[in-house]
């Protein structure tokens, strides 16, 4: 094994001259750069080409992030911004948000600093966060589904690939396709149809929701089924932790 002394001696013999030469050339180059440069009068042009619609996140799997990165709970502000993106607009065209999030009591409970008594964000996952996430999900999902009832096809946010008449028994493909879409929309996860851990539990939630509904028509029962799916996705750790 070379000692550091041996190494430095060898280095000086072998590399000192080339290093000095390199330094000289670089220095000389620096001097030459100080000469005035003619400004570019014709900026480069950019040619773009449409490749059609690209689904967000539709890429090959990536490695898990480095293990030193810690998981974090959504802050109140992240929550505030995520809701309209995920749930879209209500039937009046307003972005869906949870109004309680703007009151001091709820801000404090969710750990948002008021910069009077506290300046640090509290991001501990606790029962209060779980409770209000559940409330906000009930509120937001109902608005989104009410809006869906007034729209059709791709204009819908929750029931985009299934009609409100579809059930697991009558149109399993549509239910599955919609669940795969929702899993991607809410959690950013591409799941295969019938995936036993990602899709089937949601399918059961849809069925249970419709079965436990107080409503009398199939469409309204199914709306309650999608409501539970929406709430389940919003209260899931996969939505609330990152």
């Amino acid at each position: 094994m070379k000692t550091s002394k041996q190494f430095s001696k060898q280095f000086s013999k072998q590399h000192l001259l080339p290093a000095l030469c390199t330094f000289w050339f670089v220095t000389a180059g620096c001097k030459s750069e100080s000469a005035p440069v003619e400004p570019t009068r014709n900026p480069p042009t950019l040619t773009t080409e449409s490749v059609g619609e690209v689904m967000p996140g539709n890429h090959s799997p990536v490695d898990a992030p480095p293990s030193r990165i810690r998981s974090r709970r959504l802050s109140a502000e992240q929550w505030r911004r995520a809701y309209p993106v995920v749930l879209g607009n209500d039937s009046a065209g307003r972005p869906i948000a949870w109004p309680n999030l703007e009151t001091a009591m709820f801000k404090d409970a969710l750990g948002e600093p008021d910069y009077l008594t506290t300046t640090e964000e509290a991001l501990e996952p606790n029962v209060v966060y779980a409770k209000y996430a559940n409330d906000a999900a009930h509120h937001g999902c109902r608005l989104a589904l009410d809006a869906d009832l007034t729209r059709s096809g791709m204009a819908r946010v929750i029931a985009r690939y299934a009609s409100f008449e579809d059930t697991v028994a009558s149109n399993p493909a549509a239910i599955d396709a919609n669940l795969v879409y929702l899993k991607k929309r809410f959690h950013g996860v591409t799941a295969a149809k019938g995936d036993p851990t990602r899709i089937l539990p949601l399918q059961k939630l849809f069925t249970d929701g419709a079965a436990s509904s107080r409503e009398t028509t199939t469409a309204k029962k199914n709306k309650d089924g999608w409501m539970l799916v929406c709430i389940g996705l919003l209260t899931s750790p996969e939505f609330n932790a990152y």
Binding site: T117, N126, P201, K204, S212, M227, L228, G232, P237, A241
Partner: protein, 478 residues
């Protein structure tokens, strides 16, 4: 014979270190939480802003000449104290009528004696009544005069990293051994901070307030299906096995903790106890009405203040929802100016509510017909105290030596442990076996107080072990 190579030795060392570290990270073993038994109760209380300990737990005789200004003319703003004592109680400068009444009753000394303890003039009769159930630690070395640092030091028993809290809240440590299976094991009131570093998730503090408790205990929007059928389906979904994505994100157990919180939340909703915590109702139930009366709650301001916070803690303990509480008892004590105007009033309001809580706990029996107080341990402090001299703005600044009020079934009551000097209220070395000043003793730190309380409750000291805690043995019951 094969010799152990250096590489082997390093592998062995790394492996054993890893095992020890993992052991430390494991949630603490439950020492109390036998199902069906009444858990020990714990209250961590703070007076936010820095209190004047001479008005509460470490008084000085206001008539003693060494604490009066030369030719005392009673004017505030006379910063210099005479005779080199560096202390000026200045009780006679306080405008509050209750303080004036105490001065009149104590021949102007301002020092109230109750049992073996002495208190300052801001301590109300409602707390003095329980003096023999309490003990005082004086001369606490806070090692800081920064608000957040001092508060977090008393909150966790560990000196902060910079200004960031280190370790878990004391109430979290206690809840991790006493609160398993409770609906809200550790409740946080009055805007207190709460931390959980590596302890059981259920012990994390739940931040709420007396006015928002109801909203925590009932759904804010209609649920799906009769008899909460939809909620049951959601609970089942949430309890399902973790997906691949969640496992990838589960390095520090955050998703697992969130699942546990979701379960706790649904259990809370199922308990259907919201009406019992509706303190602001115009038509309160008889039980709520009784509680409000006992704590003297009349207005909405009362509900949000010390009275409401103590009433909420009382109700949460009584109902068996919680075993641990972290509470900011009073706010806004940082009186750098005009100390004589409101400081004593605010202290008295907080301590009055505490007196009402102790009375409630003493009088309320659990299912074994034991008083709730018989299993309550408490700690009341502030992030630091205020300077013993009055500054030019008629206020008091930050002072590094502090005091703390403690009590508990494992703590000797009616005892004063430690002391401050009669020269500038300085810390003194204390013999921990006797609680008296001794040159061969040590300074008392918040770590030592926390360790003593935890030890008295048989809660493991593992989370604060790296602070080298020393037990205040004179305060521990044998």
């Amino acid at each position: 014979m094969n010799h152990l190579s250096r590489r082997d030795a390093l592998w062995f060392l790394a492996a054993t270190t890893g095992v020890v570290a993992l052991n430390q990270l494991r949630p603490l073993r439950s020492v109390h939480a036998a199902p069906g038994t009444n858990p020990p109760l714990f209250l961590w209380l703070t007076m936010s802003g820095g209190w004047d300990q001479m008005l509460v737990l470490d008084p000085r005789d206001n008539t003693d000449l060494k604490f009066r200004s030369k030719g005392e003319d009673n004017r505030p703003g006379t910063a210099d104290a005479p005779n080199g004592s560096g202390i000026r109680p200045g009780y006679h400068l306080i405008v509050d009528k209750d303080t004036k009444a105490v001065l009149a009753a104590t021949k102007d000394t301002g020092v109230q004696k109750a049992g073996n303890l002495t208190f300052g003039p801001a301590v109300p009769p409602s707390l003095l009544e329980h003096a023999t159930r309490l003990s005082i630690v004086r001369g606490l070395d806070m090692n800081t005069v920064a608000h957040e640092v001092g508060m977090r030091y008393t909150l966790t028993g560990k000196f902060p990293r910079g200004s960031a809290a280190s370790g878990s809240s004391v109430a979290t440590m206690v809840a991790s051994t006493t609160g398993n299976g409770l609906l809200l094991p550790h409740v946080v009131l009055g805007g207190a901070e709460t931390y959980n570093e590596g302890l059981a998730p259920f012990a994390s503090g739940t931040r709420t307030s007396p006015t928002s408790l109801r909203s925590l205990l009932e759904p804010l929007y209609p649920v799906i299906g009769p008899e909460n059928g939809g909620e049951a389906a959601l609970a089942e979904y949430e309890a399902a096995a973790a997906t691949c994505e969640e496992t990838r994100e589960n390095r520090d157990m955050l998703p697992t903790r969130m699942r546990q919180m979701n379960k706790q939340m649904r259990d809370l909703l199922r308990a259907d106890k919201a009406a019992e915590f509706d303190f602001a109702s115009k038509t309160p139930s008889p039980a709520v009405k009784d509680l409000l009366t006992r704590f003297g709650i009349v207005t909405n301001t009362d509900i949000a203040g010390p009275k409401g916070r103590m009433a909420a803690a009382a109700k949460l303990f009584e109902s068996g929802f919680s075993s641990s509480a972290s509470v900011v008892l009073q706010n806004d004590l940082d009186d750098h100016s005009d100390w004589h105007e409101e400081h004593a009033t605010k202290l008295r309001a907080g301590l009055d509510a505490l007196g009402d809580l102790i009375k409630f706990l003493v009088e309320t029996k659990d299912k074994d017909n034991e008083s709730l107080w018989s299993r309550t341990t408490l700690m009341l402090s502030s992030e630091f105290s205020r300077t013993p001299l009055i500054n030019a703005r008629e206020g008091r600044d930050h002072h590094i030596t502090n005091s703390v009020l403690i009590a508990g079934p494992g703590i000797r009551s009616n005892v004063v442990f430690g002391a401050t000097s009669d020269n500038g209220l300085q810390k003194q070395k204390i013999d921990f076996a006797t609680g008296r000043p001794s040159e061969s003793g040590s300074y008392v730190r918040p770590t030592d107080v926390v360790a003593t309380l935890l030890s008295s409750m048989n809660v493991p000291l593992t989370p604060i072990e790296n602070q080298n805690p020393k037990l205040l043995t004179a305060l521990l019951k044998k």
